[in-house]
Each structure stands twice: as C-alpha cells, then as structure tokens.
Symmetry: C2
Subunit: 307 residues, 2 copies
C-alpha cells in the first residue's frame, strides 16, 4: 500500500468560487465523488480572500511560492504566510505529506477546460498527457516568463493548474462546476490508474508553449486606450496570424499581431482575463507543439506514486 | 435657451468598468460623442472603489441615497458621504444643477442592453419610452421591493439606470463598450429632441414590473447548495412558466418556479448577477406589461427640460 497522497486546492484566488463551492458540497456529502480509495487532502488556498470574494488580500497567493518569499520569514503578509503554511501542512515533507497537487482555478477568458503546467517537469508532463488523452483538453506550458514566478504547484514534486472559463469572478455557474467536477474525477481516475500500474500513456502530447505576454495599448498615463478586438475575444486556443487584429480603439484604429511579434501562426490564451490587467497582460501568446512522450516520464511518475 | 443640464454617471459600482472607461476616452477626445450642444456633466460615481476595482468600500453607493442616510450627517462612511457630495454638486438644487441623470451600469447577467426605472415617475416613463421606441430595449420597472431602496437616480427629478451585460466585473469588453456608446448617443439624441420639441412619443411602452426576488436554495448555514439551472442561465427577459427549472443541485434535484411563486408566465431578470448574491438575490421575477402612454407624461417632460 502506497503512502502517496493527492492534494487538491481550490480558492487559491478568493474570487474564483466554483471549485471551492464544489469542495463544500463534496465535504457535506463525501459520496459525491468516487475517490477510488485514493488518499486525498483538500484545502481552500486562500480562505480569507475567499470570504471577501477577492483575488487576494496582500499579494497574489499564486505568485507567492518563490524561494525568496518562502525562505524569508520576515515577510509576514497574509499570502506569504499562507504559502509557508500550505507547504508546512501539505508539502512533500509537511505534516500531511502530499506528492502531487492539483490547483483548481477559473478565468474570465474563454479557455474552456484546460491544464497549465509550469516548466517541463517530467512528472507533470506524464500526468497531463494522461488527462489530455482522456478529455482532449489543451495544455498550456508556462515557462520562460521571468515576469511571473512563484506558482503554488511548483512547490510540490508534481502538480498542475486546472483553468476553466469563461466565468465572471464571484459567480457559481452550472457549466463551470460541472466541468470542474469532470476534470476532478478524471484526474482521480488517471492517478489511480498510475498507482495500479494500468496507465496507458499516449505517444505524444500537444502543448501550447509560452511565447510572450501582450499588454493593452496604453496612453501616456498607462491607461489602456484600446480593447480586445472582437476578432479574437472568446477565441482562446485559436491559431492567429500576423494580420489578425488584437486590439481596436474607439476611433477604429486596429493593432495587429505583426506589431507585437514576428511570429506567425501563434495561439493566444488568457485573452481578457480580468485579473491579468494589473499584471499588464491582455493575452498570452503561445506556440502549439507536439511533444513525443518520453518513456522515462512515465517511469518517474510510477516511482512518485509508489513512495 | 434652457438651463437644462444632463448628468451622466459611470462607475457608481467601482468594478463595473466599461462606462468609466468610455468616459475617460471621451474626456480625452471630446469629439468622440456628438452632444448636440446639450449641457452635460459627467462624473465617476465612486472613484475610490473604482481605483480598487471593487463594487464599494463601506456600503453599496447605489443603495445610499435613502432619506435616512442622506439626512443623517453623522453617518460619515465613504458611500454615505459620496451620496451627499453628488447631490450637493449635481443635484437639482446643487452647485451645478442637473435635472436628469443617467447612471451607467454593467451586469454579469445576460441582460443585453436594458433600462431600469424606479417607481413609476412620469418623467422617467416618458424618456424611457423614447429610448425604447428607438432601440427596442427592455425596461425593468423596479418598485415595491422594500428590501432595496436608496437608488442614486431617485434623488433627481428624472433619471434611470442603463444596465448592460453579460460582462464579468473588472473587464473592458468590446461589445459592452459599444452598446454603452450606442445607448449614450441615443439618450443624448432623444433628450435633444425633447428640448427641440421634436420628440414623438409612442402610444405604449412595454415594461417588466418587479414581482419578487428569488434567493438560491441554501443549507442550514446559509450557503447556497444549488446553482442556476442551465434552462434559465443566460435567459434573462425570457417568459417562463410554473414548470421551468430555476435551480439544480449536484444530486440532480430540481427547484421549479412553482416552488417560489403562484404566478405563471413571469420573466426573470438579473439571473446570476454576481453582486446580488450578498443581497440574497439569485434572480428577480417580473411581469411583462404594456402601459398606455399618458400624454401628461410627455407634457411634464417638456416642462422639465424647459427650466
């Protein structure tokens, strides 16, 4: 019997309330989800921000897991403290050690159901490939973006984010709850299949690799003076080219991809995510790639769940 | 030459950012909108809440115009003070007296472009009828709801709310900005036509009159344990009947209209407006009515603009 334990996090951002709502229902009725006897810990990432229905109190919790913040106990703001607390309680050598974490988010962008992995860790690619194979959902591979660091899942040996949208902040939506539930059950099933040595990894996985962040056009005061063009609003995961309009202002001036990138055939994601405007991100450009599955990834994942 | 002055308010709720964004662009480029030489004051309702992108700081500004709050100068919280300030500056006997106010909002509900009038004031019905005639948009007539009082526009002789959705809070959306712009221009044109004695009032106007608020089903702790059923999510302004499902929980239990109302053929609005969950409102039921246009309404409106 393995001592492997799965950590499920919801409400890392306090105004993304669908997964926390689902966790509450599940707590009240444990039979709601079949856990296949998997050992699971579930936790609300930022319960205080959740209470106020805001993304965070002092800083973005999902950017607070950087070594600088985690190792500097002088920094005592709410999210820096909460990050250390979560690792102390559920980290790989914590009180209730968990080896794999899934962090459930929602977005105002029209992302559908998707997975975000950070860096190209073999464990993450292995488990993501199983979920993609089952649900055909897109994977965003976030790496090489020096402006954004300190994601929660990076503090665990294996972990990924589930991003589901579009849904406004602070609103429980039938479709989003059901999509969250489906992915949650699929994750549990696939992790169980790894533990039971019955996982069948695909030959390839498709990822959308981070290229660059695109900010809104702004005036001299730093205020956006154009908005997302209707040609790409709600078109996350669609391939666009140099001529595609990204922004338009009220006078009809159009800002095309070619003004921002020499790339052609790129795929924008997180288009008009409300929480990203403060990060100066109107959308993120990615490049679609097929990765050949490396058999060692699967072997390493088997080892992780066999502790 | 009349001294009539129009007050335009945006950002009464600090996280409804489309109209404030439009006002900013308009301030930077006055020729953006043709004002037909109408005297216009425009103001951000709650600039401090807007800066933090939250609905309000201490209390909902759009429930802070009740006589109890306005007349009690001991109550000094941000929104109570701001309400008094707005009336002092732009009220009908203020420093810059305005006789008619339009308060631009957005909603997460799928309301399209709509008008909200409070009570059945003749001025309001007269101007709303002109805008409805021009744009065929629905009018929600809010009256008789004792749980909600103190709306901004009630402090002016004539005034109404423009509600546009769906749009998440804190996000500028191409479609919402353009819808706001269209209604704004239409309002200016119709008010000008009244001033110029060229308005042609319709014989009837269609209103959706308030019937009752419906709250989410809740557990013993007051937490919602069901969500809006997909049969009505995004179906604002659609006639429903006793059998229509309003809510469903994760076990599939359905809560139908007949459990909440003896009415049949009612029209829900503000379905799943994120900001209303704290007000215990999952949706508002209305009854569609045709009102015969009373010629005295038009006469009174003519008098209002002729001061």
């Amino acid at each position: 019997m393995t001592s492997f334990q799965l950590l499920l996090v919801a409400g890392t951002h306090g105004n993304e309330i669908n997964a926390p709502w689902l966790f509450d229902q599940w707590n009240k009725k444990p039979s709601l989800i079949n856990t296949n006897d998997l050992k699971i810990k579930k936790v609300i990432g930022n319960p205080i921000a959740r209470k106020d229905c805001k993304r965070y109190v002092d800083r973005d919790l999902n950017r607070s897991f950087s070594p600088e913040l985690l190792m500097n106990s002088e920094i005592k703001d709410l999210e820096a403290s909460r990050a250390r607390e979560l690792i102390r309680d559920y980290g790989p050598i914590g009180t209730n050690p968990c080896q794999l974490v899934i962090d459930f988010h929602s977005t105002t962008a029209c992302m559908g159901s998707s997975i975000v992995v950070y860096g190209s860790r073999s464990y993450d690619l292995a488990i993501a490939s199983l979920i993609q194979k089952r649900l055909q959902l897109p994977i965003y591979l976030h790496e090489g973006d020096n402006s954004q660091k300190g994601f929660l899942v990076e503090s665990w040996p294996c972990g990924f984010v589930v991003e589901i949208g579009p849904v406004p902040q602070g609103l429980v939506h039938n479709k989003i709850v059901n999509q969250t539930l489906l992915i949650l059950e699929t994750c549990i099933n696939e992790i169980s299949s790894v533990i039971n040595r019955q996982a069948i990894f695909p030959k390839q996985l498709i990822v959308h690799r981070y290229l660059q962040n695109i900010d809104f056009p702004k005036d001299s005061l730093g205020i956006p003076n154009a908005f997302i063009h209707s040609a790409i609003q709600d078109k996350d995961w669609t391939t666009i080219n140099a001529d595609t309009p990204l922004f338009v202002n009220l006078e009809g001036d159009i800002f095309r991809l070619s003004e921002y990138s020499n790339e052609n055939q790129v795929v924008p994601v997180f288009i008009n995510e409300a929480a990203y405007s403060e990060k100066n991100i109107a959308m993120i450009l990615t490049k679609k790639e097929a990765l050949d599955f490396d058999l060692s990834w699967g072997k390493e994942l088997y080892e992780l769940v066999s502790i």
